[in-house]
């Protein structure tokens, strides 16, 4: 049993957050000086092989974060709501999968939610300074006061996680319960998880615990059991133990090799610089042209010619070269 994190201390002095502003590693649309020493990286480990799909994590998340999700409908499967929403930060996704090797049915149940990437695409895409911050312990958190609700984080995210609220038009996703972690607690979902399919601790501890779990799975014939800590996003602070780590996508479309979309990279990278340069160049070129060529003025002669034309006088002398009349 992974040792339980002790009950919280609710006394005023004990509950002061133990990380914050000074521990910000990255801040959206801003340049920050990273803290001199990085906090120990934390991680949530979701062991899909131990998960029974009970949705306690979903309930605990709604309760802790005071979220009110709508009561929906049944759509023929156990997943409910059908997708993440601004009020559903985490969601059990159910997949019935027949293992082609054994022909056994496997009910793959994955807890979906923010992965807290080391290289967060949401943060990269975000245009609003300070709307998304990454603490040096790895937590990627949205700051709703700064969020403008543009939804760029959704496009930046390789996991399709953030959702924009129709109420306050800001983006929502799992905070890894930064408010709880800041007082030495684990996230609400982890606390609730009945089978400890979700555990929380330092990233190193989680990797070690994952090894322990993977050994057990391999002993039960899951040869491809492994840890999902995708390098394409620099690793994540929410990791999975998968029985079939060779094919993550069978778990309700978990990306096999997630990375920030090249389109997003292009947009936030080259487009931004080239675009500004081109616009600057255009303006500068105009300015230079004006200086060099001077204004293009109408002469007295032009006016007179026009007057003559308007008065029905003989056509004025052609001003240009002869060949202009030749089509």
């Amino acid at each position: 049993m992974f040792p339980a994190i002790p009950n919280p201390n609710v006394a005023t002095d004990a509950a002061a957050p133990r990380f914050g502003e000074k521990d910000i590693l990255r801040r959206s649309a801003s340049t920050v000086t990273p803290p001199a020493t990085r906090l120990t990286e934390v991680a949530k480990l979701i062991d899909v092989s131990k998960c029974i799909g009970c949705k306690a994590c979903q309930a605990a998340c709604l309760e802790w974060n005071n979220l009110t999700e709508e009561i929906g409908f049944n759509h023929g499967i156990y997943t409910n709501p059908m997708d993440l929403t601004p009020d559903t930060f985490t969601l059990m996704r159910f997949t019935e999968w027949v293992n082609p090797e054994t022909e056994n049915l496997e009910w793959l149940i994955r807890k979906d939610g923010c992965m807290h990437c080391e290289d967060p695409g949401c943060l990269k895409a975000c245009p609003a300074p300070g709307a998304i911050v990454q603490y040096s312990n790895g937590i990627v958190d949205f700051q709703h006061d700064n969020c403008i609700g543009c939804g760029y984080c959704i496009k930046g995210c390789p996991f399709n996680i953030p959702r924009i609220s129709k109420v306050d038009h800001t983006a929502y996703k799992c905070t890894l319960c930064s408010d709880r972690v800041a007082v030495g607690q684990g996230p609400a979902c982890q606390k609730a998880c009945p089978t400890q399919a979700i555990v929380f601790g330092t990233k190193d501890e989680m990797k070690e615990w994952a090894d322990f779990r993977i050994k057990d799975l391999k002993s039960r014939g899951f040869e491809n059991a492994g840890l999902y800590d995708p390098p394409g996003v620099g690793g994540t602070h929410v990791m999975y133990v998968l029985h079939h780590a060779d094919t993550p996508s069978i778990y309700a479309g978990l990306p096999d090799n997630p990375r920030i979309s090249p389109l997003v990279d292009a947009w936030k990278g080259v487009t931004k610089y080239v675009g500004l340069a081109v616009m600057g160049f255009a303006a500068a070129a105009g300015f230079l042209h004006y200086v060099v060529a001077g204004p293009n003025k109408v002469s007295e002669e032009d006016e007179e010619n026009a007057e003559r034309l308007a008065d029905g006088a003989p056509p004025p002398t052609p001003a240009g070269p002869v060949e202009r009349r030749t089509p």
Binding site: M1, K50, G76, I77, N80, P194
Partner: protein, 813 residues
């Protein structure tokens, strides 16, 4: 549970059959995942559906609902025929060697003494042969053809793997795989645990399902040991406590019995409760019955219970039938024989079978009193909700009084968990509005009734006016007062008979345990098995020391466990005949040469020598029972009976319909679909979902979000056959009623071949109604039959026949 939730971590093999622990008890299921992760334990799930438990199982085998006994008897057959028996356990610790009386027999699904007219047995022949010494005859060589072991071998012989495939629909190789894994646990160092719940109890032979597994566990030597046992997961938070406290028609707290009218006086009553040992030196602890009974009566009636009036024996009502269980009472209600009915935190309109019959019954009451923290369908049974509850309020004359009560968060007291732990809790919030505690309400009713009787007189006022109600504030006794009363106290100083100057019990003191209870009226105690819960040392139930010596999972200093703070029942059986643990790495207790010591409270007298006294001290045999004498109505061995509604006739006894001794009320026969009725071709079963708790959490917004709308589950094959779309509406109907729901079309349910016939399963979760936050729906009991288990009348919710068709959804009137 014989063991505790935390003990499951000690097991090597978990068999979940007749339950769905991951779904219904996720936090208890944690200990299964612990056993798997740390001991390399395996998990087997046997269920009609590949369910949430199966999703993390090492092996899943499908089974048709209602055929468990075939599977279990076949497992026993497999173990016996492959000599996978823990002989050192079976021989001394079970009644395998006991010789059964001549005249007992079994043929074609029936035991001797069956009376078809009465649908009951004359069970006189179901007894041991008693020798000239007055003790039961045993043959330790197991050679006697009439010894229990040989009768068992003979009884299970027909339950072969082929029979399993034919009746249960479980593929033979899947059964054999399960059998091999189970049989491995017959060694002393490997244990298996059985986790079951309503999947076994809610059948017309529910009690025998459980016996089947208990017998297997005895053969494997898994009762009384760490990581073993028969673990009933149980339902509501204090259903164990309410049963312990005898809130049933025929019980007195601590599993004592309400007398029947055949026991007009105390002497007659006690004459069948002597519990004389059936073998020499055996404890037969029920010999103390009288002490527990008298102490209870002193607690009930105080000074009014005297030796002279047989401890107020006449105050107790006498039964004329086996029980006034809910099925009987609702049947009486429908006949207009009940006038006044109380529902305390209970929603029977949803919870009992055949909603139509229940509603008709409620409408015949003069008054219905509801005490509940929440709105219930029962409280509003008279309200018109269109398709969901089509009634005409004007025609219903029942007066309904709805009283708001506090809930767990607002009250104080103890609850008993499935592991028999009595845990105290404290309130955290103020009650809403005018809500009151149930204790206050009950006290008010009592005081007002007593006042009326004092003032007006009336029918036999004595038990009411003499009820011991000596609480500081009679209007609202405190939980502390009541807990202390259940524990018991000394009423009069008691002196040592050998030395009259030596006071052994002092008046006014709390008892330290039921061992101090006396049958002379000097002690009182409301519930003997709870004794020890609030002693002179204080509230034992409130203890919160979670230390666990030896990592044994026992937690002796956490709360209080009945009986006597014991965590594993029959733990004497964790040791061999000489008192050495079967598995030293999983020691519970051991004989140190002078006494029993260890991590748990020994389930035997601390100084009882191991070879002298058998481990099953509650039984007069001193052993456990593979063959149960006449203690069960439907037979000393389990027999496969089909559900009352079944797709096929009983393969082993084609003439027998359902359980031959299960009680069926006259009018209900015609409400059952015939065997193999083509109008109801699909095998229905009802069950719970992890997102919901009965009919409560549809009042909870969060849970309603997680599972918002009613559905039924069917296979892809059936969906294709009937043209049912994933997530589309269907109508499901039985001979009794119908419901509309969405279709969850799944690979997790497969059609089965039963006796050559394809049988499709329709799974019906139970949680919906016309009150609450979730979308309106239909309770599963619109479909279910009004018949219960032959022994304890648990309704047959798990196996019934239905039909299904695509639909456009309920018409909302």
């Amino acid at each position: 549970m014989t063991n505790a939730w935390t003990d499951i971590k000690n097991t090597d093999l978990v068999v979940i059959m007749g339950g769905n622990a991951a779904e219904a008890h996720p936090c208890g299921f944690k200990w299964v995942t612990e056993a798997k992760a740390n001991r390399g334990a395996k998990l087997i799930v046997v269920d009609p559906r590949y369910n949430r438990s199966a999703s993390v199982a090492d092996f899943y085998a499908p089974i048709r609902q209602g055929s468990d006994i075939v599977f279990l008897m076949a497992l026993i057959n497999h173990c016996i025929s492959h000599d996978k028996v823990q002989w050192d356990y079976v021989k001394p610790f079970t009644n395998a060697s006991f010789v059964v009386r001549e005249g007992y027999g079994y043929q074609d699904g029936l035991f001797t003494g069956y009376d078809e007219e009465k649908r009951d047995y004359n069970r006189d022949s179901w007894e041991y042969e008693i020798g000239p010494d007055g003790y039961a005859v045993v043959d330790e060589t197991l050679q006697n053809p009439r010894c229990v072991w040989n009768l068992l071998k003979q009884h299970v012989a027909i339950y072969t793997p082929e029979m399993v495939e034919r009746v249960c629909g479980t593929p033979k190789d899947a059964f054999l795989k399960v059998a091999e894994m189970v049989a491995e646990c017959s060694t002393p160092t490997k244990t298996m645990t059985s986790m079951y719940a309503l999947g076994w109890t809610q059948h017309s032979k529910g009690a025998q399902n459980i016996r089947g597994m208990a017998m297997l566990q005895l053969i494997l030597g898994n009762i009384g040991v760490r990581g073993g046992g028969m673990n009933a997961l149980r339902g509501h938070s204090n259903i164990q406590g309410l049963t312990d406290l005898g809130l049933m028609s025929n019980l007195i707290p601590g599993y004592l019995n309400i007398p029947t009218q055949k026991e007009p006086d105390f002497t007659t009553y006690m004459s069948t409760r002597a519990f004389k040992p059936l073998r020499p030196n055996q404890t037969s602890y029920w010999q103390n019955y009288r002490k527990f009974f008298v102490s209870f009566m002193k607690s009930m009636y105080g000074p009014a219970a005297t030796k002279e009036n047989d401890w107020a024996y006449s105050y107790l009502p006498k039964l004329d039938v086996a029980s006034y269980d809910v099925l009987r009472v609702f049947d009486m209600m429908k006949q207009g024989k009940v006038n006044l009915y109380f529902c305390q935190g209970f929603n029977p309109l949803q919870a009992f079978p055949d909603k139509g019959k229940l509603a008709a019954g409620l409408a015949k009451l003069k008054m219905l009193v509801i005490m509940d923290p929440l709105e219930t369908e029962t409280a509003r049974f008279w309200e018109d909700h269109g398709t969901f509850n089509k009634v005409s309020p004007a025609d219903i004359k029942t007066e309904v009084i709805q009283l708001p009560t506090t809930c767990f968060a607002e009250d104080e007291g103890s609850l008993v968990n499935s592991g028999r732990w009595l845990q105290w809790h404290w309130p955290g919030g103020s009650p809403p509005g005018e809500a009151k505690t149930d204790i206050w309400i009950m006290a008010q009713i009592h005081l007002r009734l007593k006042e009326l009787y004092k003032k007006e007189g009336g029918a036999f006022p004595d038990p009411i006016v003499n009820l011991n109600w000596s609480y500081k504030d009679p209007g609202e006794p405190t939980p502390e007062e009541l807990a202390k009363e259940m524990n018991g106290s000394v009423l009069v100083d008691v002196f040592d008979p050998a030395d009259p100057t030596k006071k052994i019990l002092e008046a006014g003191k709390q008892l330290s345990g039921f061992g101090q209870m006396r049958d002379d009226g000097t002690t009182a105690g409301g519930c003997w098995i709870f004794s020890g819960c609030w002693t002179e040392a204080g509230n034992m139930m409130a203890r919160r020391d979670n230390s666990d010596p030896g990592d044994a999972g026992m937690f002796l200093k956490w709360s209080f466990s009945w009986p006597a703070n014991r965590r594993v029942l029959y733990n004497r059986a964790s040791c061999d005949l000489d008192g050495k643990p079967w598995d030293p790495s999983r020691k519970l207790i051991e004989w140190d040469g002078a006494k029993w010591t260890g991590y748990d409270v020994p389930d035997i007298a601390p100084t009882a020598k191991p070879r002298d006294v058998g481990p099953f001290i509650m039984n007069p045999e001193g052993t456990s029972r593979l063959w149960v004498r006449k203690m069960m109505r439907d037979g000393p061995f389990p027999v496969h009976y089909e559900p009352f509604e079944s797709p096929v006739a009983n393969v082993i006894a084609p003439k027998i319909r359902g359980n031959p001794v299960a009680r069926v009320f006259k009018d209900d026969w015609k409400s059952f679909a015939d065997i193999g009725d083509p109008n109801f071709p699909y095998a229905g079963t009802s069950y719970r979902l992890t997102e919901h708790f009965h009919y409560w959490t549809k009042n909870n917004h969060v849970n309603s979000v997680l599972q918002p709308e009613q559905f039924v589950e069917i296979s892809e094959e059936l969906a294709k056959e009937k043209g049912i779309a994933l997530g589309g509406w269907v109508r499901v109907w039985s001979k009794r009623g119908e419901l509309y729901a969405k279709a969850v079309v799944t690979k997790r349910i497969k059609p089965m071949t039963i006796d050559g016939k394809t049988v499709h399963i329709v799974g019906v979760p139970i949680h919906w109604g016309f009150v609450g936050s979730a979308r309106k729906g239909f309770p599963a009991n619109t479909l279910t039959p009004f018949v219960g288990d032959a022994n304890i009348e648990t309704p047959e919710f798990k196996a019934f026949m239905v039909n299904i068709e695509p639909s456009t959804g309920p018409v909302v009137a």
